[in-house]
Symmetry: C2
Subunit: 209 residues, 2 copies
DNA sequence: CCGGCTATCTTTGCAGTGTCAAGTTAAATT
DNA sequence: AATTTAACTTGACACTGCAAAGATAGCCGG
């Protein structure tokens, strides 16, 4: 019983031979599998089974497991970029935009813990891949831009921009990682507290009270 | 050719039957294997081979792979604790001790990247294990203590101690993670810069210039 | 000192994994 | 319509973690 093949052009996807668009379907299945399980127990054969194809089908589109995870990580970085910029656009001042990007970063990470782990905690994707490097670089561009635009007196403004960037990045990144790996379970009202915390840190109000 | 069995009491280790102290030897082999490879490609059979025993030998001491990694993670957390306290003891003021703990945290993480990943980025250890939970809690005790002792006007002093703790922890943790996973390779003089960066952030000087 | 006892370790077997090689199907091309 | 070629399947191999059963050797009560 062959699959219907109506899907060749529904979203202008590239390959649409036997399956419809197996490449996209595999990526979707991989992400679903990632959410059900986690990075460490995700199997290529499980992804293939979920997509309804044979265990060797992914090889043709991605080469090997690393190839699939590289492609998935690229998508993840694109979404991380989007998560920051979309939030910052809703704001008014530069300060608000900066903080909004931080919130966007944390929100993406906690909403997609397994994908975030793949992007930042796994050595399985191929980080020599040019597309992946580009996507990863783009994902910190929003923070870079905000820091470049900050006035020299404001928090995270002035001084060495690299230092400021790394400090802000490390903060939201570490915060997200600690949450995702259960190290902050003892914190009361983590959801609400995280909002306040990121605000406080990125506006540098920790020492002001 | 049986192994010599002189080792039964050299460090008051527990089991010393056929091997000498296989439990400790396996943990040592596991850490070595972890440094050669990484968390994701570490195999129980490889650890056993490295220790010179059959592939099923670890099961008797640790139950399964998760058990071995749990034991190894406990050791890691103990060393992380030590890395912070030993550094802070060399300092004078409370402020210096606080910053020294932060440096100790980052130094441990970057000196033992694979072990650090096991402790904070893997779901293979059993975090329901009471000993592991205890060891993990101890590892943040140094920061907790410093924050509790800080004067209300100084950086990371006053206000909600939980917020301060999480902020400081997230910062050093995120910084270490970004370094270990190669996200800061573009930063010039990362070694020297990290010293200055952690200093700047933990003393809250980011907005002062 | 010796026969059982038990903890320690080995051997064997099984299901699952990633990857390669060869085969099969069906769309595209001429 | 025949041929080429991309897309997928099947089968095999080495490796993995794990369970069960067997072998080894230190211990202990007679």
């Amino acid at each position: 019983m062959p699959k219907s093949k109506q899907a060749s052009d529904q979203t202008a996807q590239k390959g649409a031979y036997h399956h419809g668009d197996l490449r996209a379907a595999l990526l979707q299945a991989a992400e679903a599998e990632l959410n059900d399980k986690n990075i460490e127990s995700l199997s290529l054969r499980g992804v293939a089974k979920r997509a309804g194809v044979s265990h060797a089908a992914p090889a043709h589109h991605f080469g090997d497991k690393s190839g699939l995870l590289t492609a998935l990580a690229i998508i993840g970085f694109q979404r991380l970029t989007e998560a920051q910029t979309s939030r910052s656009k809703l704001t008014g001042t530069e300060d608000e935009a900066f903080v909004a990007k931080g919130h966007g970063y944390v929100a993406f990470a906690t909403a997609n813990p397994a994908l975030f782990d793949l992007m930042f905690g796994s050595q399985q994707p191929d980080y020599a891949d040019a597309d992946l490097l580009h996507a990863a670089n783009q994902a910190i561009a929003p923070l870079v831009e905000s820091i470049a635009h900050r006035a020299s007196g404001s928090p995270f403004g002035g001084g060495d921009p690299t230092h400021k960037l790394v400090a802000a990045w490390a903060l939201v990144h570490g915060f997200a990682g600690l949450i995702n790996h259960g190290k902050l379970r003892w914190v009361d009202d983590l959801e609400g507290g995280s909002e306040a915390l990121v605000n406080a840190v990125l506006t540098n109000e920790l020492s002001k009270r």
